[in-house]
C-alpha cells in the first residue's frame, strides 16, 4: 500500500490543565500525557481523548465549554500556551488543529480569567455578563407585526459590509481573556458598531452605546489601554477600529 508523503506521525503531548472542582474551590494545574494524538485532530478532540482516558481510569473528566465545533458558536473558550484560542490566527479553539504542535510539546491550558467571567468548573467560566451587556442595548426595538420585507429598507453595500465585519463577533470572550486589563471593549464595540452602521439600528444608537458601555463598566470589566491584544486573538479578526467607532458614537451620544 502506497503511504508516501501523506503519512502523518501521531504525537505524544503533555498537557498542563487548570483543574478547579467548583466556583469556590481553589484550582491548580494538573499534568497529563496523551499518546497517539493525530495531527488532524482539533484541540477539542484532544481533550475528548484525554477525558475518555480519565473516565476509563475512574477520574473526573476535564470540563470545557463547546458546542458547534465549527467556529461559529463562540462556546469553546480556553487560553492555550498563554494565548486565547491558541496559536492559530483567526480561529476558535475548536478549529485549532494538533498539526500546530510538535511531538513531545507541553501545552498549558487555562480558563478565561477575570472578575466578570467567574469560574464554574475547570475550564468553564460564566460568561453571562455578555448576555447582560446585550440585554442593556444589543438589539433593535421592534413593536410592529411581522418582519419587514428584506428589500424594504435599502442599505448601501459598503455600510452593509462594515456592519457585517462587526456582526461577525461570536461573543466568545477571547477579547476579554486576552486583554491585559480584562476589558470587554472589543465585544461591546462590535455590537454597538453593527447596529450603528445599519438604518434599523439608527433610531436607538445614542441610548444603546451609553447603556451598553455603562453596563460593561458596572459588571467589573477593566478599562481599555489600547494594547490591541483583543484583535490579535479574535477568532473573527474583528479590528480595534470598531473600538474607535464606539468612542465616537459614545462622544456623539454624550454631547447631544
Amino acid at each position: 500500500m502506497a503511504r508516501g508523503i501523506m503519512e502523518k506521525k501521531n504525537m505524544t503531548l503533555h498537557l498542563r490543565v487548570w483543574r478547579q472542582k467548583n466556583a469556590s474551590a481553589k484550582g491548580k494545574m494538573v499534568d497529563y500525557t496523551v499518546n497517539d494524538v493525530s495531527q488532524d485532530m482539533s484541540f477539542l478532540e484532544l481533550l475528548d481523548v484525554l477525558n475518555e482516558n480519565l473516565i476509563k481510569k475512574g477520574e473526573d473528566p476535564v470540563e470545557f465549554d463547546n458546542d458547534c465545533r465549527e467556529g461559529i458558536c463562540g462556546m469553546c473558550s480556553m487560553v492555550i500556551n498563554g494565548i486565547a484560542h491558541g496559536p492559530e490566527k483567526g480561529t476558535a479553539t475548536c478549529q485549532l488543529h494538533m498539526r500546530k504542535f510538535k511531538d513531545g510539546d507541553t501545552i498549558t491550558v487555562e480558563p478565561w480569567r477575570g472578575t466578570a467571567f467567574p469560574p464554574i468548573k475547570d475550564l468553564v467560566v460564566d460568561r453571562s455578563a455578555f448576555d447582560q451587556i446585550m440585554a442593556a442595548g444589543g438589539y433593535t426595538s421592534c413593536r410592529v407585526g411581522a418582519a419587514a420585507d428584506a428589500n424594504a429598507i435599502l442599505v448601501p453595500k459598503d455600510m452593509a459590509e462594515k456592519a457585517m465585519d462587526a456582526a461577525a463577533c461570536i461573543g466568545c470572550g477571547a477579547c476579554v481573556a486576552a486583554c491585559p486589563n480584562g476589558s470587554a471593549s472589543l465585544f461591546v464595540a462590535a455590537k454597538v458598531t453593527q447596529f450603528a452602521f445599519l438604518p434599523q439600528g439608527h433610531a436607538e444608537r445614542k441610548q444603546r452605546v451609553l447603556n451598553m458601555v455603562h453596563k460593561m463598566d458596572e459588571l467589573g470589566f477593566g478599562d481599555c489601554s489600547n494594547h490591541g491584544e483583543c484583535e490579535a486573538v479574535c477568532p473573527k479578526e474583528i479590528s480595534i477600529k470598531h473600538i474607535a467607532v464606539m468612542r465616537r458614537e459614545y462622544f456623539k451620544a454624550a454631547i447631544s
Binding site: I83, A84, N181, D223, N226, R247, Y250
Partner: protein, 225 residues
C-alpha cells in the same frame, strides 16, 4: 438620564480624557524641547527666551493652570485604569504570552503605569530644581532678568543629574511610543489610510523627543566644563 460625571468617568470617558490630556502634554513637550534648544545657541538666547515666557504674565498662569490640570487628570485616570485592571483580573494567567500579529501590546504599552509614575515624580523634582531652584540674576541690554542659563549649566555639570535625566528621558520615549498613537485611538481616530501613518509617526516622535531632551544635558556636560 445619564449624569455628566458617570459619562466622564465611564471607560470611554476616561479614554477620551487620557487622549485629550495626552495630546495636550505632547504639544507641551514639543514646545519645551524647542525652547530648550535655545540653550545650544547662547546664554542670552536662553535667558531672553525664559524672560519672554515670564513676561506673558497672566497668560502664563493660565497656561500653567491648564498644564497642571492636564498632568493631574492624565495621572489620575491612568492610575484609576491600573487599579481597575487589578480588580478585573485578580488572578493572573500562569502562562502569559503575546499573541503577536496585529497586536500593539509591547513593553511600552504594558509599562505605561510605571513609566508614567516615574515621569510624575520626575516632574515634581524637575520643577523643584529649576523653576523653584536658586535664583540668579543677570542683565541683558540693561534689563535685569533671571539667569536660568547659569542654573541649567551648573546642574548639568554633575554626572548624577546627567545620567538620571538621560534614563528618565528614555522612559519618556518608552511612554510616548505607546502613548502617541494610543491618544488618537482613544479619541476615536482610526482609519485604514491614516492609522499606520499615526502609529509609525508615534515611534518617530518618541525617538525624536527622547533624543532631543537627552542631547542637551550631554552637550552641556561635555562642552561647558
Amino acid at each position: 438620564m445619564v449624569s455628566f460625571f458617570s459619562m466622564v468617568w465611564s471607560s470611554v470617558g476616561k479614554k477620551i480624557m487620557t487622549g485629550l490630556t495626552g495630546v495636550g502634554l505632547c504639544l507641551f513637550i514639543i514646545g519645551h524641547l524647542a525652547g530648550n534648544f535655545s540653550l545650544l545657541v547662547s546664554a542670552e538666547a536662553f535667558n531672553l527666551y525664559t524672560y519672554k515666557l515670564f513676561s506673558l504674565g497672566g497668560l502664563l498662569y493660565v497656561i500653567e493652570a491648564l498644564l497642571t490640570l492636564a498632568f493631574v487628570l492624565h495621572a489620575i485616570v491612568g492610575i484609576s485604569i491600573y487599579l481597575k485592571k487589578r480588580k478585573a483580573r485578580p488572578i493572573d494567567y500562569i502562562k502569559v504570552a503575546n499573541a503577536g500579529g496585529n497586536s500593539h501590546k509591547s513593553i511600552s504599552s504594558v509599562s505605561m503605569i510605571w513609566t508614567g509614575l516615574i515621569l510624575l515624580v520626575f516632574l515634581v523634582l524637575h520643577l523643584k530644581t529649576f523653576k523653584f531652584g536658586p535664583y540668579y540674576e543677570t542683565s541683558i541690554n540693561g534689563i535685569i532678568m533671571r539667569d536660568l542659563y547659569r542654573l541649567v549649566i551648573e546642574v548639568y555639570q554633575q554626572p548624577s543629574y546627567v545620567i538620571s535625566y538621560t534614563v528618565i528621558m528614555i522612559l519618556l520615549g518608552v511612554h510616548l511610543r505607546h502613548g502617541f498613537w494610543s491618544a488618537f485611538q482613544s479619541l476615536g481616530v482610526n482609519h485604514p489610510r491614516y492609522s499606520p501613518v499615526i502609529y509609525g509617526f508615534g515611534i518617530f516622535f518618541a525617538l525624536v523627543m527622547a533624543a532631543g531632551f537627552i542631547l542637551i544635558p550631554i552637550w552641556i556636560y561635555f562642552t561647558k566644563q
